[in-house]
Assembly symmetry: C2
DNA sequence: CCAAAAGTGTTCACCTTACACCCATGC
DNA sequence: GCATGGGTGTAAGGTGAACACTTTTGG
């Protein structure tokens, strides 16, 4: 019989920080060898019979110290299978995304780094982040769970602009993004307007999911 | 330490049959329990340190009896993680596609069934096929390895029409498909024309990859 | 009033879909 | 000639990007 490969689940834990006006990626220094002390994506070995989502939750709560209830959604990205990606031996890595609700975070949190500017990471995690960014960008506005997980039940056009810029790398015109959002099923522009930014400017519309 | 899950690789082996004018899916009766005798996708357990592509080759050659050299390309689809999908115990299934060059097939081959009309399969393989069909359709014309693997180095507009219909479920207008193909990088319309079909009709253009 | 930032309206380019019509073959 | 089926041309509708101009805020 063939000996089986180990499977790890590595998570791109994302949260939107309205202060920083950017999507942040959760990373944590590794506690153990290899790469002890170096920054890495939160990851765990998949347990027997464990679902990928559950392993992702376990990674995010365990390695990032995020409370269970703060994880708002998760989903699959791709699988990385280079046999040499882990010096301990061949390990498959299944990448998932998970969105974290910032309002439910405890303060002693881990390192959150702008997705657009991630420091060098352990293993092949740089590559994972690089390969997965376009996939994440493709989920925006198309995958409701992902979008709502990042932006929350209610958000402003300004937030949407910041999230889009973080994921795709460039900032759309507010006018065009508004029209894009009007075509997103389950999303509607409310009649409310948020407070303007400290620097002034017209207060943005508030958007809400209809579910 | 956590006991690891088993990983299997299940393959959607595809080939285009110009006679049948359809994309065919390779399936084979299972030799062993569970589901012995029932039809299933070719699949193997992933060996330690084995790459997904290599496991896919192994599944296609071993379970379908397709010669090694007939596999023209392969790639990743998605992962299925229901713990109950295999009665022997929790097994992860990573689905891959592989394209098979029909000209290199030995005749004693396995069952090839039209992708548009697959009989009931063992395990959750019906679901795998159902979930993966749209992903395959999305690869057409966008993923060169996939498209060239299916259609070969040289093919006619008529073949392209048949393949598109098999994958997406409806047949495009020849005119529009021709214009789509002209925009595919690395693909060009030659000045040649193939022989017409037995029933007559205008002979279609021949297309060729420029690489 | 000025700067900042979102919203409205409009235009242009492009892509997709659809179809009428033309052409090349087998019978 | 007739049926078959791909190719050419062309027009309508939708999508996206770009931008001038307006509106609403802070200072």
């Amino acid at each position: 019989m063939i000996e089986s490969t180990l499977v790890s689940v590595d998570v791109l834990a994302l949260r939107f920080d309205p202060e920083a006006r950017a999507v942040l990626l959760g990373i944590a220094p590794r506690a153990l060898e290899p790469f002890a002390g170096e920054l890495a994506l939160p990851g765990v070995l998949l347990g027997k019979g464990e679902r990928l989502r559950d392993a992702a939750r376990r990674a995010v709560t365990g390695k990032l110290g995020v409370p269970e209830g703060a994880i708002s959604a998760s989903g699959q990205l791709t699988t990385f299978d280079e046999p040499s990606r882990d010096p301990r031996g061949p390990t498959l890595s299944i990448a998932l995304w998970a969105t974290v609700d910032a309002t439910k975070l405890t303060d002693d949190g881990p390192a959150w780094t702008p997705l657009a500017d991630v420091p060098p990471l352990a293993f092949d995690h740089d590559r994972i982040v690089r390969d997965c960014r376009p996939i994440l960008a493709g989920h925006l506005w198309r995958d409701t769970a992902f979008t709502a997980g990042l932006l929350g039940r209610e958000f402003t056009t300004a937030h949407a602009l910041d999230v889009t810029e973080s994921l795709t790398g460039d900032r759309p015109y507010p006018a065009n993004l508004g029209r894009t959002m009007e075509r997103v099923p389950g999303l509607e522009r409310t009649t409310q307007h948020a407070a303007a930014l400290p620097k002034g400017g017209r207060p943005p519309s508030v958007w809400r999911w209809t579910s």
